[in-house]
Point group: C2
Chain length 274, copies 2
């Protein structure tokens, strides 16, 4: 193991979000090389790149660590080793400590979500932020928690709230990433397709209803209006694309006429080319 690797080196393939202002991840005495590797992977997922190891018990550049990092080798290569937690935090201004159990301390406690919004504000204000994670088995000591400004407690099943190291990093990093996500929360993937406009839908409804009258499905005059409304609602709900409307015109036509001799050249009320 080497000590105090530079973080000033070429950023190369590291994510854009992982500039010098993104939070540093500090692991206190991690026991297993795999956990350091999977932590690096989780950091890469979340746009974090500054990994600091306090007295790690295994080599973070071992084959096991590199394999577990699954593409985040650069984060391991540029990780810094420190002897004490105080040294690892020395250049940080605001530190968040993740703990599984409540301490007998008077301390600001936040969920991972609230902490993410808080740290985005701090980083936007130019603050240097650190995220402190404890040992796999025993977590952080009270002395180490007291080095932090804020404690993060992740709301989880109270009967089984203990996350493994990389999963804790993932949850906090995930929230960090979400706090800057500005894309849609919900959308329909349209690709090259466009949703059918109401005139196009009306053409399909009329085509279908005319054929359903002819074939006998809508033979009951009394029930017909409510059945028509049910059918229209069902098809409205499907949010059909123009291509899907063309497909349904074809399906109605083929079901109705197939290869029968009375098949018309063109459907009434249906003017699409296909």
């Amino acid at each position: 193991m080497t000590s105090l690797r530079s973080t000033k080196a070429d950023k190369g393939r590291l994510p854009a979000a992982a500039s010098g202002t993104a939070p540093a991840v500090i692991l206190v005495e991690p026991q297993l090389a795999e956990n350091i590797g999977t932590t690096a992977r989780a950091m890469m997922n979340c746009g974090l790149s500054d990994l600091r190891l306090v007295d790690p018990k295994e080599d973070w550049l071992s084959d096991r660590a590199l394999a577990a990092s699954s593409g985040a080798e650069r984060i391991l290569e540029r990780a810094q080793r420190f002897t004490t937690t105080e040294e690892a935090l020395a250049d940080r201004e605001v530190v968040y400590a993740t703990t599984a159990r409540r301490r007998e301390m008077v301390k600001q406690v936040m969920t991972a979500r609230a902490a993410a919004a808080h740290m985005r504000d701090e980083v936007a204000g130019g603050r240097r932020v650190g995220l402190l994670f404890g040992r796999e088995r025993s977590g952080l000591t009270n002395h180490e928690v007291a080095l932090a400004n804020i404690v993060i407690e992740v709301p989880l099943n109270p009967e089984h709230s203990s996350l493994n190291l990389a999963q804790a990093v993932l949850v906090v990093g995930y929230e960090w990433f979400q706090a800057a996500y500005e894309g849609p929360q919900s959308m329909t993937t349209l690709n090259r397709a466009r949703l059918a406009d109401k005139e196009t839908l009306e053409g399909l409804f009329q085509h279908l209803e005319e054929e359903l009258v002819i074939c006998g499905f809508l033979r009951n005059d009394e029930k017909r209006p409510s059945m028509v409304i049910n059918i229209r609602n069902m098809l409205q709900r499907a949010e059909l694309t123009e291509q899907e409307v063309r497909t349904l015109h074809g399906i109605v036509k083929e079901l109705r006429y197939g290869r029968r001799p009375d098949r018309p050249k063109r459907q009434p009320g249906y003017s699409a080319d296909d």
Copy 2:
């Protein structure tokens, strides 16, 4: 491997949130026993318990799987095995498929957060929900994605968005749990302590300021008002408890007088017992 284990058995240690209405987690052809185990652990963290395995490639009750589950053995013991994805989804009404890459399909896509709110609504309405996760290496086929109502895409670093299987389950399960979390997002842990009221704080300010005048720190009459305001703001910001105010009274007293012979029996403006 046995097939179609019952889910009707005694729920025993399983979390309260994991009733029959919580979403089922369906893993399609998981390759590694460890990943099934860590998935069970992530489910336990998030109050999920209905695990379904479609043609798993390793034994989900092997020592490796059980060790990786880290306390969630019951979820593995009660997991159900299915031959096809269709069978595993047969009793589900609404299915969410998690994918890393966008498909050439017209499909509703949601973030994990939006999907969690959506599935909470569905479950509240009595719907049976399933969460579909693909193979470690190749994910879900287009045919499998088409079995789902909604696709979940987790917003992550676009250059490295691939999560491992248990981490994907954790993120979706974490959001499922957060969507029902009603506790505070941010709080100060008070334990048995109470925040000092303003009268108590005023007593501390006056005690400190009187001693600072006597000892000479506030000797400059012109600068004194702004220095007093700065000191008061600094102490206000600390959100002191009653006990901490008592401690600070003691610190001021000892710093000022220590074992000096002029040490008064009682501080001016300080009426606390300690």
